[in-house]
């Protein structure tokens, strides 16, 4: 079966007064129907930009899609007309954005904001839409849904607002749901509730999900596949368990090492990746992580490694490296 979404060689730049920012560089990947893909990376890794750009949600200009194809259900999204994209957004591809405080319109009722995509895509009457809105709010776990639809975002708590955001994202039963840092602004407990909700919804509707976050823990709990991005490139990707146990990119390894481990405290300092995120204004040469990578080889600085299947690992575990991380780590251990 053809994958639900296939991205080929997507490259996105931003033309700014300071120069051309290379935000997304030659990104290719696929998602199968029903899969949950967790995309991890720090700010500026291109994780959000690439997702927004494929459905025309980045401002152009300054954004510019240099090359690539994005096949969604067999159609290249980048070749769609403006009108076709509008018909697709919200209906086939739903979005959940971060920080529901700023992502919901403060002057419109929750009912209107959830009903908008329904009325736009299914031509529902006001009353039909209202019934569906109540249904959706109940689905995402908002008590007294019928009484609350007339309220405004500021009358909801942060967690409840995020639930409203999710209700908007899933309102039209999209094939693909893209959640961009959807739990980042929330308390840990509320975050856990939201993740539970998303897992439930996935079970019920089999929605394919792209979950964009900088939080490895969230990916571990939710995703089937993890994709680590850095400097606008995919550094590593594979089944979550495999990548967590056996990372092959030094960047993934660094991210995992900088996570606190269950309950033990005070014994060692948390690892931190040295250096700063790359300046994407320069034409990217070589492995973008190489300047911060103690294991980088001469070749890493000169030549960009392609994303390749990791030899000896499970199928689908891919990494973009010139070095063998396991060998490097062994050597390092031997030295100590």
């Amino acid at each position: 079966m053809a994958p639900l979404l296939e991205i080929r060689n997507l490259t996105v730049v931003f033309d700014t007064p300071a120069g051309t920012v290379h935000a997304v560089n030659d990104v290719s990947y696929t998602i199968e129907e029903g899969e949950t893909l967790g995309i991890v990376g720090e700010s500026g890794s291109g994780k959000s930009v690439h997702a927004l750009s494929m459905v025309g949600l980045i401002a152009r200009p300054p954004g510019r899609i240099v090359s690539g194809e994005v096949y969604f259900k067999g159609r290249d999204l980048l070749k769609l007309s403006q009108r076709e994209l509008l018909d697709l957004r919200g209906k086939e591809i739903g979005f959940v954005f971060q920080d529901p405080m700023t992502s919901l319109n403060p002057v419109l009722t929750v009912e209107r904001q959830i009903a908008e995509p329904l009325r736009r895509h299914f031509n529902l009457s006001k009353n039909q839409a209202r019934e569906r809105v109540v249904e959706l709010l109940e689905l995402v776990g908002i008590p007294n849904a019928r009484e609350r639809i007339g309220q405004y975002p500021h009358e909801f708590s942060g967690g409840m607002r995020q639930r409203v955001m999710i209700a908007i994202g899933i309102s039209c039963n999209p094939k693909l749901l893209i959640a961009d840092e959807a739990t980042t602004a929330l308390d840990v407990t509320v975050q856990a509730q939201i993740l539970d909700l998303v897992r439930d919804l996935k079970k019920k509707f089999g929605t394919t999900v792209i979950w964009i976050t900088h939080d490895m823990g969230v990916v571990a709990g939710l995703a089937d596949t993890i994709q680590v991005m850095y400097g606008g490139r995919i550094m590593e990707r594979g089944p979550v368990d495999t990548v967590f146990e056996d990372p092959r990119s030094a960047y993934t390894w660094g991210l995992l090492k900088s996570l606190p481990h269950g309950g033990k405290r005070g014994t060692t300092r948390l690892y931190q990746i040295p250096g700063n995120p790359p300046n994407l204004i320069n034409e990217p040469i070589g492995d973008p992580f190489a300047p911060r990578n103690a294991f980088a080889t001469e070749r890493c600085l000169r030549e960009t490694p392609p994303l390749q299947q990791v030899e000896g690992s499970v199928p689908g575990h891919k990494a973009a490296v010139w070095y063998d991380l396991r060998e490097k780590l062994k050597k390092q251990e031997a030295k100590v």
Partner: protein
Amino acid sequence: MTRYLLTKLIEAFIAIWGVVTIVFFVSRILGDPAVLLVPVGAGQQEIDNLRTALGLDRPLLEQYFQSLFSMLKGDFGISFQHTRPALDVVLERMPATASLAGLALLFGTLIGAAAGAIAALMRGTVAELIVMVAALLGQATPTFWLGIMLILLFSVELGLLPTGGSGTWLHYILPGLTLSVFVSASIARLLRSSLLDIMREDYVRTARSKGLMPRTVFFWHIARNALIPVVTMIGIIAGELLGGSVVIETVFAWPGVGRVIVQGIQAQDFPVIQAGVTLVAAIFVFVNLLVDLLYGVLDPRIRRG
């Protein structure tokens, strides 16, 4: 909402009382109106008699409370110059000021809103540049200078329009145009920057992600929010214009409230000054009250916060 309204009303009342008090004492500093009112060559006795007649010989605080009390009853005293109720002197100028203000506000807002929206929507184009340069010039040009230039062109050179005064609709054109230029320039600049700010908001991206039509996104998500500061601005301008634009009324010999107050000041006609300034302050406060209410309509965070 009732509580909100009540607070605003009390605030309005206090503001007007403050203005009345300041005007009362400041106008007393201006000097002695009796000296100006008596015929040339009159003696001290006549001046004193007049002061007694006008009640100016009594202690200042007594005069203050006396006039405050009368004002509550709507009595601002008799104009020294016109020997008619001061309030009437001011009020009969109101229609001229209000009609000119209304005209300027209407056209200024329409043109300003259209220009501001065009500038924001066509960001980075020549159209934006033209609108913004025009708006900057419109706001920076002193109204008296613009008024005089318009008179020179349309009245003196071309002889198409009257140089000043009021009476026919032709008289409205030049002062109306002069004021509209300023109003529309201010609104265009504010609306443009407000729209550009809102366009960057996360919720606008959310609206786009729903696949909404661009016009729905613009009117319901962008303009709805961008209008909030513009409404305040319109309120302030409306308050200012309704108080009578002294400069414009002078340039165009327009028989408005602003001019009558200035004449009152020159003649040290306390009742007219007090009636005029109090009226202007009341209008200003009332317009701002309306703006506050409109705010509540536009922004539920204020209405239900």
